[in-house]
């Protein structure tokens, strides 16, 4: 087989990277050289980091063979809790953040326990959780956005401030920071090894090898929920408000980013870098389409096409790999 094809199949991050570069250049040309400006780059960064951090958690969970559809509701719950505690109870932002993150980690744990002890697929367990938390969010926040009254606190600035001399805000740095940490965990720790192994054949090989399947999955469910909640809190610090509609589509968008990044829906295969590039690609697409003045409807259409292309490519790549393995 062509050596380039083999190399490209091994490094599936190449796809979203090429797409990202091509799309950026296309938008730059189509908009009369307006894409590579600080305003646009700032918009791409904000959009991408919000989905990107959620996608990181979804990646590690999907590699271990599970899904979490409740991340969009978790994304809204954590900042609503944090803002309410700061505004109404007068909590220091750091304490409010810690409590919000603890609360969503319990949600992740519940998702994991539900999946493992009832034997229902995580897809359904977390779908049920999605509706439940949405309802809680509405009870807590009502219809109106919750504004964060304390914005000058050091923690809030650490979380969401604009970075001096750049068009970026802090959440982008957090995304790369979390990404680096997760990459380290996946590639360099025994938890990473276990995570990949339990994604294969519903964990039966891993179980036979004495890998703690349940513990590993539970940790990943919690990590996924915590990252979604943190992403929501970072956006709160950046935008200054949160609402029940914050991150409404983040559950599906995160899956799209992860699939575009080459993570297999069947587990085991997947990379952190791929998912981050997938998230950047989605951010670029969204802000680029607005920039060149297309109608909003096109965005969803293109997302759909992109997802299908990525999934078909991944399936094709798997067939090629299966055939080339003797």
């Amino acid at each position: 087989m062509n050596r380039f094809v083999v190399w490209a199949l091994k490094h599936q991050e190449i796809g979203p990277l090429v797409g990202l570069v091509a799309l950026s250049i296309a938008f730059h040309l189509a908009s009369g050289h307006l894409f590579f400006t600080s305003g646009q780059i700032s918009a791409v960064a904000a959009l991408s980091s919000s989905v990107g951090i959620v996608a990181l958690g979804v990646t590690i969970l999907m590699i271990s063979g599970e899904f979490d559809l409740s991340v969009s509701a978790t994304f809204a719950l954590a900042p609503i809790l944090m803002a309410s505690l700061v505004n109404q109870a007068g909590w220091p932002p750091l304490a409010a953040l810690l409590l919000a993150v603890s609360a969503v980690s319990v949600i992740g744990l519940t998702n994991g326990l539900l999946t493992m002890f009832t034997g229902i697929p995580s897809f359904i367990a977390t779908l049920g959780m999605l509706f439940a938390i949405k309802s809680v969010n509405r009870m807590l926040a009502g219809g109106a956005p919750v504004e964060l009254l304390e914005t000058e606190d050091r923690i809030i600035r650490w979380m969401g401030a604009e970075l001096p001399y750049t068009p970026f805000t802090a959440p982008l740095i957090w995304m790369f920071g979390f990404g680096a940490l997760l990459w380290f965990v996946l590639e360099h720790t025994s938890h990473g090894n276990a995570t990949r192994a339990i994604g294969d054949q519903e964990g039966s090989i891993a179980r036979a090898m004495g890998v703690p399947v349940m513990q590993t999955k539970l940790v990943n469910f919690v990590v996924c929920a915590v990252l979604a909640g943190l992403s929501g809190c970072l956006q709160l610090a950046d935008f200054g408000y949160a609402s029940v509609d914050s991150g409404r589509d983040h559950n599906l968008m995160a899956i799209v980013a992860v699939v575009i990044g080459g993570t297999s829906l069947l587990g085991v295969r997947g990379t952190v870098l791929g998912s981050l590039l997938g998230a950047l690609l989605l951010g670029t697409l969204k802000s680029g389409l607005v920039l060149v003045g297309t109608r909003g409807e096109f965005y969803d259409l293109l997302i759909g096409v992109l997802l299908l292309m990525a999934a078909i490519f991944n399936a094709w790549a798997k067939t090629i790999r299966d055939r080339s393995g003797r």
Partner: protein, 260 residues
Amino acid sequence: MSQGLPSSQVLELRGIQKRFGRIEVLRGIDLSVGAGEVVGLVGDNGAGKSTLVRIISGYLRPTSGAILVHGEKKSFASPRDARHAGIETVYQDLAIVKDMSLWRNFFLGNEIVRRVFPFRVLRRQEMKTICQQHLRDLGLTSVRSVDEMARNLSGGERQTLAITRSVYFQSNVLVLDEPVAALSVRETRRVMDEIRRARGEGIGVIYIDHNMNHVLPVADRIAVVQHGRIATVIRPSETTAEELGDLVARAGADSDEESG
């Protein structure tokens, strides 16, 4: 059979019984495996071999009876416990994760790590070197690097690697559940060689296979399982593949009659 055994017995099963509701699948299995001994386990479908393997490897708890490893009574709540007690099980297609690299597979569940709180950080170079050494010993010349995905190995090579792994981890007992089903003659030979090597290292082996021609040359003793009991234990020198096949088929027919 298992009474008053010398301590060189690596595994001893005493009166293992297993019930699923009202059905009694195992009715008191007594079996011992010595260090450096290969015990073949044969029997027709439904005789109870799989249940016995699942009990030995920690997937199931026996309803009654005892498992002793090196004379010490053990109780397994999970395959992890069994592995800690030095019992490695290699299943037909549950040995290796194909989309993981060779070295990660080799050390899966038993990684060499250093603790950097809260992580258990892999000692990658050390593990790669050890894995490389074992691959070389196995003569897996087609492998260019231990970073290659396991899917690049053939079925036989994957089984061989799984057996080598248990030798490296100095297991007491190696349970092989139809390890050569669906393998070519050449590949089967490779796996058999590896089983003999494991035996040479003092590991006790339980070898399960439907094909008597595979069991006979490698086993030191052969236990015939018949509706949940060990019906007889014979030495390969005392029988032929045909006789053994007849014995298993008769046992199967008897149990069909009984259950019918």
